[in-house]
Chain length 151, copies 2
Amino acid sequence: MNAISIRRAREADVAVIVAMLADDALGRAREDASLPLAQPYLNAFAAIDRDPNQLLAVADGDGVIGTLQITFLAGLSQRGAWCGQIEAVRVASSRRGEGLGQRLLEWAIDKCRERGCRVVQLTTNKSRTDAHRFYERLGFKASHIGYKLEL
Amino acid sequence: MNAISIRRAREADVAVIVAMLADDALGRAREDASLPLAQPYLNAFAAIDRDPNQLLAVADGDGVIGTLQITFLAGLSQRGAWCGQIEAVRVASSRRGEGLGQRLLEWAIDKCRERGCRVVQLTTNKSRTDAHRFYERLGFKASHIGYKLEL
């Protein structure tokens, strides 16, 4: 694991990130990883990259092998506490079981601490039972229900 | 209900918003609505107000009687879809049962549509069973588990 670095994503990483999002039970039906990459992915990257409250990260070890996105959320609740929200966590299928997911999450939690967040939050689909165990091992509490409305 | 308008919050509204956050089974222990308002609340309002991807709203009818916060989230997932996230939904205790919560949510969903969001998401504490029924009536699906880690 020593040769792996976690860093801010660059535009050149987007195709590999999208391929990881697509290589997933839920992602398969809803992503399009074909090249050249569809423009909405590049537009989304640009919007993330210019937003000081967004941090799209990759784990890089002989290429991109993991990713997650952090959003730093200001809110009045809990005495004006900042909250770090983690989304789109993926590890390349060929590199699972090496502890890389844990390393990515610990890195993200550190970034939230550095930004003064008092809470880290994330949601995960009810069907991802492996993910539930993973987040509970990291100390997350399953205190909430996550609702989605498709427009 | 006709005399109620929903609008972007101003700094002068923050004390009333915090009072609504505090007047709640879960908020009571974690907010401090005493005046003059603690500076972290005003700092949080300033951070929200200057962020083009944040919209703190109030329902105003002879004073502020409801609030919610929308964050517009860019992400690569789902072909670069924008997502609207709703948090900190409250209706003044004296004005519950009039359909104001539904009106606030419908307003927020419209704002998400205007911004091109493909999904609206929110989480709610497992203990808020009235809220669960409310969101399900509005068409939200309880597809996710919401995890929190306190730092």
